[in-house]
């Protein structure tokens, strides 16, 4: 191998290392309870270092009824994929459903950080997961159609998971999963059951 080739490969390796370093290095977020991006970011794909996503449905029920279902319906909890739900014993803690736990790669402690009756509940994750997450459930009157329920979640993957593609995949999975969760909640509240085409209870 000639000296010119060594130089070429060396330059390529240096550039690749630098690019990788930029991708890998991300400033570790300090947790600021008042700056939870999901509380202020709406209709934006990004908020600082966070990727923001969410879903909205309108449910023919009052905010109290919707909240009661979210807080107390075990059938809903077992159907949820991404939307955290209240932990029975500790009023300020939420339990992440399985898909959200998988996304964070470990149990994710989620704490309520703001609450306005019939209007808004905001939460954030705590501890060392692979993703830092903030979320918000908001209720708005939608006239004769019912109550618009909007969930916004902001996710910031940490460490090696912070590559843009991983972040985008996380956001896409969250968006789809949150919409499914809200629709299941809507079905349960409006019809008393979650629609299924299964022919038998034991069928896949």
């Amino acid at each position: 191998m000639t000296i010119a080739n060594w130089a070429r490969y060396g330059l390529a390796a240096t550039l690749a290392t630098a690019a990788g370093g930029v991708l890998i290095y991300r400033r570790k977020p300090g947790i600021n309870h008042d700056a939870a991006p999901a509380r202020s970011a709406r209709h934006r794909r990004r908020f600082g270092d966070y990727r923001v996503t969410g879903a909205t449905v309108t449910i023919r029920a009052t905010p109290e009824q919707i909240r009661a279902c979210w807080q107390g319906n075990a059938q809903l909890w077992s159907a949820l994929e991404y939307l955290p739900f209240p932990e029975g014993n500790q009023p300020d803690l939420l339990l992440p459903p399985s898909e959200l736990r998988d996304m964070a790669s470990r149990p994710l402690l989620t704490r309520i950080v703001a609450e306005r009756e019939d209007e808004l509940i905001a939460w954030r994750s705590e501890g060392e997961g692979h993703a830092d997450m903030h979320g918000r459930l908001r209720f708005r009157d939608n006239g004769s159609k019912g109550t618009a329920v909007e969930v916004i979640m902001a996710v910031r993957p940490q460490h090696f998971a912070s590559a843009w593609k991983t972040e985008a995949m996380m956001a896409e999975a969250l968006k789809l999963g949150l919409l499914r969760d809200l629709r299941r909640m809507k079905m349960l509240i409006e019809t008393g059951e979650i629609a299924t085409a299964r022919m038998r209870p034991d069928a896949a």
Partner: protein, 389 residues
């Protein structure tokens, strides 16, 4: 149980499938006594509707007797019911306005995303159709699970035979809604494209709704003969230029309202239809929209365009300019079946209408494959196939 299942394009097979059971509290199970093959089943058979899987149980026109009920069903075992093809919850915003085929809740969430990508919003669930509409098992079977059985099925009297009631499940309300969407004023002239079952019921409904004249357009003589027996003026598109004929028949004005009862599989050798067929065959287009284009061109200025025919994708060469410049109103949609069933049952009970005139063939369920093949390939004779499991 035995059921007619989709095995691939042009391949229907009656197979042994698991019996359905109660899954949700509002469910019931019915034993099917009569079921029919619908023109839109042929869209599945021909492979032009996406989201149909191997072993899917077909059939969305059926009736039967209740054999089991969930704890929140209001039906009783033994009751005789006709089941609308659109599944609806009865409680969402759309159901509250009787737009049952727009129900928010009846399609399982896992099946909503493809339809949402294709149409902007998910659809309601339907029996025996595509997974875009939930993938619910259909009624060409011995038993069917009926969700939301407290609101969906229509309980019917014991003294009227199945064959007079069966079409309340789809094609009779579909023809009725097509005529309602045409907003017929007394004495209006209505043109109906397609003299299949829905087209024939649209003609029947148009006269019931006080149309003065109905012009029936098709290319199959046997079907045009049936339209003529209903009082329509037949026009064969193989023998004449439709736009010229309609202008001539209406004194140059055009029909007051037009009804496209054909949908995505238009026949004929018009250039746009040949192009559509090529696109459909190679998979870059889904709808052969020749009839809709022609209906819009034919309709009088300020007229109404009603589209009960099924479309599933996108159509180019769509005469948007004619629609706008002539100030036409376009109304369409899957049928909100249950909104019309009480009124139509009353007409049947009073012998004002007898929908059974449509039935040309009766088969056992085991001969479903024959029924599908002949219904598609011999339209002159095979007008409507009813099967008895």
């Amino acid at each position: 149980m035995r059921a007619a299942t989709f095995q691939g394009k042009g391949d229907i097979d009656v197979r042994q499938m698991p019996d359905p059971a109660i899954v949700n509290p509002r469910d019931c199970i019915i034993e099917v006594t009569s079921t029919a093959i619908c023109g839109s089943d042929l869209h599945l058979y021909d492979g032009v509707i996406p989201g149909v899987a191997k072993d899917d149980i077909l059939g969305h026109e059926f009736m039967g007797r209740v054999v089991a009920t969930g704890k929140e069903s209001t039906l009783e075992v033994g009751q005789r019911v006709v089941v609308p093809f659109t599944i609806f919850c009865g409680q969402c915003f759309h159901c509250s306005e009787q737009r049952y085929s727009n129900c928010d809740n009846s399609c399982p969430v896992e099946d909503q995303e493809v339809a949402e990508k294709a149409f902007g919003h998910p659809m309601a669930g339907m029996f025996g159709y595509s997974h875009l509409t939930g993938g619910f098992a259909g009624g060409q079977a011995e038993y069917v699970r009926i969700p939301y059985s407290d609101v969906v099925p229509l309980v019917v009297p014991e003294d009227i035979p199945d064959e007079r009631l069966l079409f309340l499940s789809d094609i009779l309300p579909t023809g009725w809604m097509a005529a309602l969407n045409a907003e017929i004023a007394p004495g209006d002239t209505i043109a109906v494209w397609g003299c299949g079952p829905v087209g024939l019921f649209a003609i029947l409904s148009a006269f019931q709704q006080k149309a003065g004249r109905v012009i029936a357009i098709d290319g199959v003589k046997g079907r045009l003969d049936m339209a003529e027996q209903l009082g329509a003026e037949p026009v064969n598109f193989h023998e004449t230029d439709i736009l010229d004929a309609l202008k001539q028949m209406t004194g140059g004005v055009g029909p007051d309202a037009v009804i496209d009862a054909v949908g995505m599989e238009a026949h004929g050798f018009a250039i746009d239809n040949i192009a559509d067929r090529i696109k459909q065959t190679v998979g870059i287009g889904q709808d052969r929209a020749h009839v809709l284009r022609q209906a819009i061109m034919a309709c009088r200025k300020g007229g109404r365009v009603s589209v009960p025919g099924v479309y599933g994708g996108k159509a180019d060469l769509f005469p948007l300019g004619a629609l706008m410049q002539k100030g036409l109103q376009l109304r369409t949609g899957q049928t909100h079946v249950r909104r019309f069933t009480a009124e139509l049952l009353d007409l049947i009970e009073r012998d004002v209408i007898d929908p059974s005139f449509l039935i040309s063939h009766r088969l056992p369920l085991d001969e479903a494959a024959t029924g599908y093949r002949n219904f598609r390939d011999h339209q002159d004779e095979w007008i409507k196939v009813v099967m008895h499991p």
